[in-house]
Symmetry: C3
Subunit: 138 residues, 3 copies
């Protein structure tokens, strides 16, 4: 069995984080899949998805790290086109990866105690963001 | 066919690396799956899994890089809760990703010559660590 | 249904980028899979695969970032073996991840508007590089 849903998020951008664990869990439960996997796939090029602890301090630390690695206020080659000015976000996305794959066991996501599914969106303006969730298995 | 196992590691933490390639390969062989995939999923928020070369110098270089990007001896927002003091590990985990997916072909992991499956555990204290291995296919 | 192909690339190395989206799309189309997933797996330890925008400025920005994080002209422990001198590439690979998993919907890759599949190869010399593409589903 394979089912694919899409979650629409209203994101503030600028490395804002949305915890979608419960939404993904509901998709898994309603699918009836007992044993299989879930793919969570962010469909943009300025952000990504991680499995991590949803704690405000950790999120602030991650934001600080990405600002250190690729600051917003730096010149990027991407800006030479003069179409958009989000070079920092594309660069950070290469480090983030845009998807995670999570095993499903006994009808539930097989996550560790502190693991949540976190969408990190780094667009420069608030915008709707789309995340595909595909559940497959038996 | 889908089977899910869990590997328990005794890790020293502090970016120590455990090569689990042979353990994963044995799970694949005993599953009888000839064509499919293996998901290797680290069930904690302070480390991750990579596919890389298991050479001591490379591991030392990766450790040096993470200490450069997110040093242990830095103040992290995560520490303001005063519960634990592993902010560096959570930040590094965002860059590492906690899982890999590997194709299975002719009953074996379809890895390149120098590719091994390496668990990088960055907890501050030695602790048991759990890694799920899910094999699916025909 | 599961099919596995291998793409051979002639890469210049040194963080050169090859857009393989169309090759992967053709493999998906010829497989006949309507609903499922594609795994794209780089079979080397000096590079990786990302989903990102294929724009020359962004690629130059990513190259600049990796040179900042792990410069070519630095001493690496990996070089103490005196076999090869690509320590920078192994370190960067730990951040890149060597594979992506993409949902397939209605017979096509379920990518966002600007998303392409980009192989980033960081070997020091031009060499043939192998990327496995596994398509599974219904």
């Amino acid at each position: 069995m394979i089912i694919t849903h899409q979650i629409e998020l209203e994101s503030r951008g600028s490395l804002s984080v949305t915890n979608i664990t419960e939404q993904v869990r509901e998709i898994v439960h309603s699918s009836g899949v007992q044993h299989g996997q879930a793919i969570i796939f962010y469909r943009h090029t300025t952000g990504g998805v991680i499995v991590g602890e949803h704690e405000p301090g950790i999120i602030a630390d991650i934001q600080t790290m990405f600002e250190q690695i690729a600051p917003v206020a730096r010149n990027y080659y991407h800006h030479l086109r003069a179409v958009d000015f989000n070079g920092h976000a594309h660069v950070r996305s290469a480090l983030l990866t845009n998807h995670v794959v999570i095993p499903i066991l006994e009808g539930d996501l097989f996550l560790g105690t502190y693991q949540d599914i976190l969408v990190i969106d780094d667009q420069t303006e608030p915008a709707p963001r789309y995340v595909a969730v595909q559940v497959s298995g038996e």
